[in-house]
């Protein structure tokens, strides 16, 4: 339990992000408030940290640049443990922050700009610590670093009443959920005399106090992960917050909650598998199915784009929870893949919605009518994101879902039911994603599914009201409307979804081995 000063090198990503935060504050003091400078600097620091994490993971072509001391992986050092699984999540968290930082360069300048970027980096810093925590208290404190930063981010514009209301709501719910988590942690300490997550794994299920403790920790983290029934805040907050902040909440902060649940419950399911048998698996499976069903059903009837995306994000959390509810290496790898896909899809989708104002598109889903034709670049990218969210092949969303359900069928028996529930949900979600595609590419769409006269009374040859063919001029217009940084981020995300959807081989390889290690070697 000692901290080794020379081993500070292993914290290079964290240190990089932290230096970025200090720099942003110094620029603020110097009176520099330009998004291009501050956002650019933050993006560079986040990118450096991201590349460092990739190097630590040994991914091509950075494998020689790792700063992790040999033999560090998998050995606990005080409240900290480095694992490949945690490093993958560090990469995921940094990616979400990086995408948001890049995209928001295109937003308006203002005095709050440094605040936003400093908070974004701080939130990313908290998430980096979450990914290496080996101790419940350390985990919850790191979650809180991110939590406090995100509470402020939601209301950072200060003038928007809805954003401030959302920030208040988020803050109160967040504080409550943290309190519940810490209470749970204290119960666990009472039951076992330790808060070390690795120690939990080897312990017997000696008291129902521990079960209550795990349950309360799950409630606290479930708020962050927007699991039903702890999802109520999410829709209002995602709706009220600026779109770039919603992007970060859905892409980053939510994944942190899920990761927390993974590392806490990988111990809990083992402790209670012996005593309560299947009960905990059943409970987690039920939670996952309820979350995805509620999310999808509610998303069906939304009329504004942001609320629809918020509910779809809740539904996605349900799929990801399957990773721990099935508790096999394949399931955990599938969930990680799905989380990676969702970071890209949800960050991308909220960024697109944030760009809508610049494109002259309103907040309603029906306002997207014809956008596919008038804004070819953004339209096609958004369509790819929606198809990926719906789980269509050739996109990363398909690979993630496919792998998750594959793992569920492999686990057999009751878990097959989870796969069926998940797949039916996936089919249900096609309704609302296809509806947006319909508005975007079939602009004369009436909105009522059964509208239209008798089939014999009209021409069905489709002559007339031809939309303008995509032209390069309209692409220039749309880049001007959204800002080049945001446009490039959106198009880049869409391309990434396609490329990784067709060639996910390196991702799958890394996640398979990381999940395997995580489940077998201890945390």
């Amino acid at each position: 339990m000692s901290f080794d000063i020379p081993s500070i090198a292993q914290y290079t990503p964290e240190a990089t992000v932290f230096i970025g935060v200090i720099l942003v504050f110094m620029l603020d003091v110097a009176g520099i408030r330009s998004r291009a400078i501050i956002g650019g600097a933050t993006s560079i620091f986040l990118l450096l940290a991201f590349l460092q994490v990739l190097a630590d993971l040994g991914s091509w072509p950075l494998q020689g640049l790792s700063t992790l001391p040999a033999g560090l992986l998998g050995t606990q050092n005080g409240p900290v443990i480095f694992t490949n699984f945690g490093l993958i999540f560090q990469g995921i968290f940094l990616l979400s922050a990086l995408l948001v930082a890049l995209a928001s360069v295109s937003e308006a300048d203002g005095e709050e700009v440094p605040t936003f970027y400093a908070l974004l980096s701080l939130a990313a810093l908290g998430m980096l610590f979450v990914a290496i925590s080996a101790d419940l208290i350390f985990l919850l404190l790191s979650v809180e670093i991110t939590g406090i930063a995100t509470y402020v981010m939601v209301g950072y514009t200060r003038k928007d009443r809805r954003a401030v209301e959302a920030a208040m709501k988020f803050y109160i719910i967040g504080a409550l959920s943290t309190a519940i988590s810490f209470f749970g942690a204290s119960l666990l300490y009472g039951a076992y005399g330790t808060t070390s997550l690795t120690a939990f794994r080897a312990l017997p299920a000696n008291s129902s106090l521990a079960l209550v403790g795990f349950g309360m920790v799950a409630v606290g983290l479930g708020f962050k992960a927007t699991l039903v029934p702890f999802h109520m805040w999410a829709v209002d907050v995602y709706d009220g917050a600026p779109a770039s902040v919603s992007a970060f909440l859905a892409a980053g902060s939510k994944k942190m909650g899920l990761f927390g649940i993974f590392i806490v419950f990988v111990a809990a399911v083992r402790i209670f598998a012996s005593a309560q048998g299947f009960a905990l698996y059943l409970a987690l499976g039920a939670l996952a199915v309820i979350t995805m069903t509620v999310g999808n059903v509610m998303a069906l009837e939304q009329t504004t784009m942001k609320r629809m995306l918020a509910y779809s994000s809740i539904a996605q959390a349900g799929y990801m929870l399957l990773g721990i509810a099935i508790d096999t290496p394949a399931a955990l790898a599938g969930a990680t893949l799905q989380i990676t896909a969702d970071v890209l899809m949800k960050a991308g989708a909220f960024i697109v919605v944030g760009a809508a104002v610049g494109l002259g598109v309103g907040p309603l889903i029906t306002d997207w009518r014809g956008v596919g034709h008038s804004r070819p670049g953004i339209g096609a990218s958004f369509a790819i994101m929606l198809l990926s969210l719906a789980g269509m092949p050739l996109t990363l969303g398909f690979v993630g879902k496919f792998y998750l359900f594959f793992a569920a069928v492999e686990a057999g028996g009751y878990f097959t039911l989870l796969a069926i529930a998940g797949l039916l949900n996936s089919a249900l979600s096609v309704f609302y994603y296809a509806r947006i595609l319909r508005y975007m590419y079939m602009p004369e769409s009436t909105g009522s599914a059964t509208a239209g006269a008798h089939p014999l009374s009209h021409s069905s040859l489709g002559v007339g009201n031809a939309p303008a063919a995509p032209a390069w001029g309209s692409v220039r217009d749309e880049i001007r409307g959204t800002g080049s940084a945001r446009w490039a981020t959106v198009v880049g995300i869409a391309l990434l979804l396609l490329v990784l959807g067709i060639y996910p081989t390196p991702l799958i390889g890394a996640m398979n081995s990381a999940a395997q290690q995580f489940l077998t070697l201890g945390l």
């Binding site: 096999t328 290496p329 394949a330 790898a333 034709h373 198809l387 269509m392 092949p393 050739l394 398909f398 496919f402 792998y403 359900f405 594959f406 793992a407 069928v409 492999e410 097959t416 796969a419 069926i420 797949l423 039916l424 996936s426 089919a427 096609v430 309704f431 296809a434 509806r435 595609l437 319909r438 590419y441 079939m442 769409s445 009436t446 599914a449 059964t450 509208a451 239209g452 006269a453 008798h454 089939p455 014999l456 009374s457 009209h458 021409s459 069905s460 040859l461 489709g462 002559v463 007339g464 009201n465 031809a466 939309p467 063919a469 995509p470 081989t505 799958i508 390889g509 398979n512 999940a515």
Partner: protein, 512 residues
Amino acid sequence: MSVFAYPSPLTDLLAISLVGAAATFFAGKWARWVALTTAAVSLGIVIWVMVNFQLGTAFDYQFVQVVPWLTLSGGSGGIGVNYTVGIDGISLPFLLLSPILTIVSVVYHWNETKNPAGFFGLVGLTNAGLFGVFVSLDILLFFAFWEIVLIPMFFLIGHWGGPRRHYASIKFFVYTHVASVVTLVALFAMVFLGGWSSMDFGGSISTAQVAALDTKNIMVVPQVLLFGAMFFGFGVKLPMVPFHTWLPDAHVEAPTGGSVLLAGMLLKMGAYGLIRIAFPLLPYGHVNAEPVVLGIAFLSIIWGAFLSLSQRDLKRMVAYSSINHMGIVLLAIALWTQLSVTAAVLLMFAHGLVSGLLFLLSGSVHHTYGTRDIPSIGGMNSRTPALTTMLMIGSLASLGLPALVSFPAEFSAFLATWEALRWWVFLPLLGLVVTAGFYLWMLQRMAFGPPRGIPDKATDLPFNEMISMGLLVALIVLYGILPYLIVQFIPHAAIFATQCFHGGSTVCTSTP
């Protein structure tokens, strides 16, 4: 295994059709030429493949290419997913049909005015997806292409379709997506319960190993359940009664070219899945479920025929007659003999050509006469003789006139039924009588008799429509007179599918 060359021409086929479809979207006013060239080049590759296809040398897939793609952690030591393509005599007819119907659609819509680049690009994308379905020999690859085909068809129906296109497109998408989802679970379960080490179902493994792909170590009850799930999933696409209700909406609302591909190719995907996966790999399943499958086949034949009889809309009538024809296909598959599977594949090839022609005709009747309502049109032959001639050829081909392509197909299907079920054959024959009845009745009302509901300026078929219909008529006659041209490929693969799995008969271990 006969690994032909590296890379396989099938990979070229996929790559060219995908790239061509993508280029079509950006080709502006040249879109139709790009689409036509792409389809023609892919047809050329298919013909080259047919010429170089080795007939009856070994019970193997040909032109095989295997590239490792993913390894999923699962089973013992992981489950491999490969990019595996290859064909045999069962997939070859579909491979030929797809570019033909694509060319026909493109030519028919030559003067499309509503976003032509998008239309031709989506048609090309459908074609590329179909190629993928019929060459994939890996379960994940097969499923991925299976789903991809839905996306362009969704847009084709939803943007270029009839008045109720939005309803029809969503219904089509969700209905068939739910079916595929059920199939996917069953496919996974088959892989795990059968203890497979890869998702490959034919390409990377030799004949002996195919025989050892022993799903017989799955117990009877799970096998029946798996078969039931796959039968549902593939059957919705077929479509079979009672899961056929998406079809009339999708077909009637789809643009003409979309209907051609929908009826000509997409319906065949379901039957292909049954022949390729569900029946050979789940022997206990199909043996135990045979009464149900036969019952549904008879029901589809009779119900489809009577539904057609009651339609006033020409296009709707043709759509319902597809249910009847696919019912005969299902019947032939269910009998699962060499003759019946050959008949099923030939029947699908024939139906692809004939229903394509009939959907083109419904489109032409509609824009010539302003309506497709059968009772309100009469005496067409005096005003539009070319259109009427085509309509007669299409109707006669659909009801199975000798010397047209449906005849050898239906004849062999009924022969196989007689061999297996004896007098039951009169049930599907009753369906055939009704089919003949409604086509002749339709001709009598529309083509002959006193002129009714004819607009002042009824012009006969435009040149491009004439060409696309003429192409189909030529093929219908050619393959009707010389069915050997396509039949020669099928029986050998049909023996393989029906007898060689699970260490089947000795015929499979030797080269014939």
